[in-house]
Structure formats: structure tokens, C-alpha cells
């Protein structure tokens, strides 16, 4: 049995690589199976556009399994759409009504330069990681497994934070375009584990400074990020980030 189909109207942000300004274009999306993901729906629309000689809508995607963090757009004012804990590729068309108009916008932030249509440059997040979001592993023989004991509770907390896929929805959803949930997750993930402790102070200071330098906004505890995060990361990670920074600065020489 095939799934029911729906007809939609898309209002999509179009902006070429060299365009200073973009605009909304309206396209029909007809006979969309409700079993399709949002990206598959865009694929169908793009095929139609190509047939008509219109440049297809550019959007980022990769695994389409909700784990790579490549896809993402603001759907009717909500990052990755209004379903909880989903990426755009895991948002299914059954959540939309027949005849509905869907407004599709790219992530908006000064730190995310628009590349084309719905594609934005999120390398600012990579720069934050490069500033300190790693553990230095010097060369040597592999250690015995479990030679460093990690309490189960700590491992679970670290894993919750490590679930971040770096999609940038927190920045897009934040009324201030702040990246605090992202670096909160990255700092927490490493600071909770013994392997991450030696560099914890240096890491948090470097990452926060980098974030500020890149033009992200300031967190004002709006908590929109934790609602939109496809991995359900809590603003408790931001509180931990704040603690880590205070500790690091107060103990610094």
C-alpha cells in the first residue's frame, strides 16, 4: 500500500554565490509522498525545477540518517522543523498538511556566511574546535584498555554531550546567534573524562575566546537551543561550560 500524497507550496530562500542579497521564490511541490523525508521532498522539487530549466535549490546533506550534522534549514521559523530531536533529513512529510505553505530559510548568523540558497559556511564551528576542542595524544604504544577508570555516571554525562553533531541548529535557533550550546557540549564532553582533564583549563579559555572572536552572539539563557537540538543536548552543558571557564580563569597564573 502506498502512502498518501500531499501538495505543498514552498517559499524558499534563493541566493546565488555572488548575490549580495537573496529573495524568496515560490515553488509548488506536488504529489509528495508522506513517507518522504524533507530532503527527499526537496529532491523531487529540484528534479521538477531542473526540467523547467530553473537552477535547483542548493542544500547541504550527507548521511540522511540524522547523524552527520550536514543538513539543516529553518522550516516555518523552526530549526530542522518543529518535530523534537530530528534533523531535517529525519523530518518526514507526514508532519505537514495537504495544501500547506512551507517557508524554508537558511541558518542565519553573522558567523555563518551564506554560500548559496540554503547552504551556509559553518567552518566557524570547526575553528572553535581547532582552538582547543581536542585531546592531545602524543605518539606512543597503545594503552591497555580500561587502564584509566571512568565512573559510569561521568561516562554517561560525557556521552550525552558527545552526541553533538555540530549541525549548527543551536546557533540558528538562538535569538542571539550564540554558539554556547555547541561549545558547552564540546567542553563538557572532554572535561568530564579523565583524558580531557589535563587540558581542560586551556581548552575552555581558548574555545570561548575563539567563539567571541568569530562574531557569535552572547547567551542570554533563552533556552531555545536545547529545544531545537536534534540530539537533545541540555543547557546544563552551558552551565558546566560557565563553571569550567570560572575555574580555569580563577586558577590561571
Amino acid at each position: 500500500m502506498s502512502a498518501p500524497t500531499i501538495n505543498l507550496t514552498l517559499k524558499v530562500w534563493r541566493q546565488g554565490r555572488t548575490d549580495k542579497k537573496g529573495r524568496f521564490e515560490t515553488y509548488p511541490a506536488n504529489n509528495i509522498s508522506t513517507d518522504m523525508s524533507f530532503l527527499e521532498m526537496l529532491d523531487v522539487v529540484n528534479e521538477e525545477l531542473t526540467k523547467k530549466g530553473i537552477e535547483p535549490i542548493a542544500f547541504d546533506h550527507d548521511c540522511r540518517e540524522g547523524i552527520c550534522g550536514m543538513c539543516g534549514a529553518v522550516i516555518n521559523g523552526r530549526a530542522h522543523g518543529k518535530e523534537r530531536e530530528t534533523t531535517l533529513c529525519q523530518l518526514h512529510m507526514r508532519h505537514f498538511k495537504d495544501g500547506e505553505t512551507i517557508v524554508i530559510e537558511p541558518w542565519r548568523a553573522r558567523a555563518f556566511k551564506l554560500v548559496k540558497d540554503l547552504v551556509v559556511d559553518r567552518s566557524a564551528l570547526d575553528q572553535i574546535i581547532q582552538a582547543g576542542g581536542y585531546i592531545s595524544v602524543n605518539a606512543g604504544g597503545p594503552q591497555d584498555a580500561n587502564s584509566i577508570p571512568v565512573p559510569r555516571e561521568k561516562a554517561d554525562l560525557a556521552f550525552n554531550a558527545a552526541a553533538c553533531i555540530g549541525c549548527g541548529a543551536c546557533v540558528a535557533a538562538c535569538p542571539n546567534s550564540s554558539a554556547m550550546l555547541f561549545i558547552g557540549a564540546k567542553v563538557s564532553h572532554l572535561a568530564l573524562l579523565p583524558q580531557g582533564r589535563p587540558e581542560a583549563a586551556r581548552r575552555v579559555r581558548a574555545m570561548v575566546r575563539k567563539m567571541d572572536e568569530l562574531g557569535f552572539g552572547n547567551c542570554s539563557n533563552e533556552a531555545e537551543c536545547e529545544v531545537e537540538c536534534p540530539k537533545g543536548i541540555s543547557i546544563r552543558e552551558i552551565a558546566r561550560l560557565n563553571r569550567e571557564l570560572m575555574k580555569a580563569e580563577l586558577k590561571s597564573a
Partner: protein, 213 residues
């Protein structure tokens, strides 16, 4: 000194300044409210509270200067954050929806903050920098709230303060790093209770005095 400069030049440092000064204002609000509750008891009780308060002398001046210092930090940092946050999103969204994290308090914090600043200046001109008729503060209170306009203004101001505090109270704990699944709901609840106490506690005074309810 270097440590402080290092903290306060970061975005998190600015949040910390908002949180610490905000905590100061919450404590001030609580003390101010406890004092003003004497108005519900009556003229004598209130005047005796005023007398005891003024008897503290230099301590009051220290507290006033401290509050002024906190106010300057809170307002100037808040203004910087507001401008930086606006600039962080040069192209706005065409469709804006609240995902469910925001509250009226959090979404309006800069604006309610500005209104509160205006109110504080107005309130000080009204009660602090005036000659009290017969040397009694109560006379100023009853004269002010005999005007319906003042009653409305003060009540509206207290609604604004309650909205600001509703976000500010839990927010300062979050900023100071105190967020724990067990305690955060209690802090959130306490914030709402505190906002209601402030709103109703102060807000009903003009009605009580003005119309002798």
C-alpha cells in the same frame, strides 16, 4: 586584576557580571519588599521602620553607592550585550517562532530592563530626592498614591519588574553554573514565586494606600 579582566572581557564574563549584579538586585528587592510590607500594617509601623532604617546612617550610604555601582554595571553590560546580540544576526528570519525555551521574561529582558531603569529614576525623584511633608515619608506615600495616575504607573511598573525578575532569577543560577536536574525545577519555581511576590507585594501597595482598601 588580570584574572578579572580575562573573565570579564569574554561573553561568559559579561553574563557573569549580569548574574552577580542581578543577584544583588534580587537581595535588594527582597529587603525593600520586607520593609515596605510594613505599609500594610499601618502608618506607625512604617514610620518606625523608616526611623530604624535611617538610624543605620553610613551603612545606608554604603549600600546606596553599592547599588549605584551595580546598576551602572548591569545597565552598561546589558546595553553592550543587546547591541552585540543584534549585530550577531544581520539578516533576520522572515518567520520567527518560539521553539518553547523562551518566556515572555527572557524575550523582553532588554526592554523591561530599560523600562525599569526609567522607573528607578522616576521613583527616586518621587520618593528619595524630595522633602517629605512634615518630615514623614508616609505623607509622601499617601500624597503620591492619592493620584490615580501614580497608582496605575506604579502598578504597571511592578508588572514589568515581575516579568524581568521571572527570567533574571533562574537565569542568574544558570549563568553561575548552578544547573542540576534535581535542583533546577526548584530554582525555576522559586523564580516564579519570587516574581509574583515582588509583583503583588509592591504592586498592591499603591492600591492599598491610594484607595484605603
Amino acid at each position: 586584576m588580570n584574572t578579572l579582566a580575562n573573565i570579564f572581557t569574554t561573553s561568559i564574563g559579561k553574563k557573569l557580571m549580569m548574574a552577580v549584579t542581578g543577584l544583588g538586585f534580587c537581595i535588594f528587592l527582597l529587603i525593600h519588599l520586607l520593609g515596605n510590607l510594613t505599609l500594610y500594617v499601618g502608618r506607625q509601623t512604617f514610620e518606625s521602620y523608616v526611623e530604624h532604617l535611617h538610624a543605620l546612617g553610613p551603612l545606608i550610604t554604603v549600600a546606596e553607592l553599592g547599588l549605584l555601582f551595580f546598576l551602572i554595571i548591569h545597565v552598561s553590560t546589558g546595553a553592550v550585550l543587546f547591541v552585540q546580540n543584534l549585530r550577531a544576526r544581520p539578516v533576520r528570519y522572515a518567520v520567527n517562532k518560539w521553539a518553547g525555551g523562551r518566556t515572555i521574561g527572557s524575550a523582553t529582558a532588554p526592554y523591561t530592563g530599560f523600562l525599569i531603569l526609567v522607573f528607578i529614576i522616576f521613583h527616586l525623584l518621587n520618593f528619595h530626592f524630595v522633602e517629605h511633608p512634615g518630615g514623614l515619608v508616609f505623607n509622601t506615600v499617601s500624597a503620591t498614591f492619592s493620584s490615580a495616575l501614580y497608582v496605575c504607573l506604579y502598578m504597571a511598573a511592578m508588572v514589568v519588574v515581575a516579568i524581568h525578575v521571572r527570567h533574571g532569577f533562574w537565569s542568574l543560577f544558570q549563568t553561575l553554573g548552578a544547573n542540576h536536574p534535581k535542583y533546577m525545577p526548584i530554582i525555576q519555581g522559586a523564580g516564579i514565586v519570587f516574581a509574583l511576590l515582588v509583583g503583588f507585594g509592591f504592586g498592591l501597595i499603591p492600591l492599598y494606600i491610594g484607595w484605603g482598601i
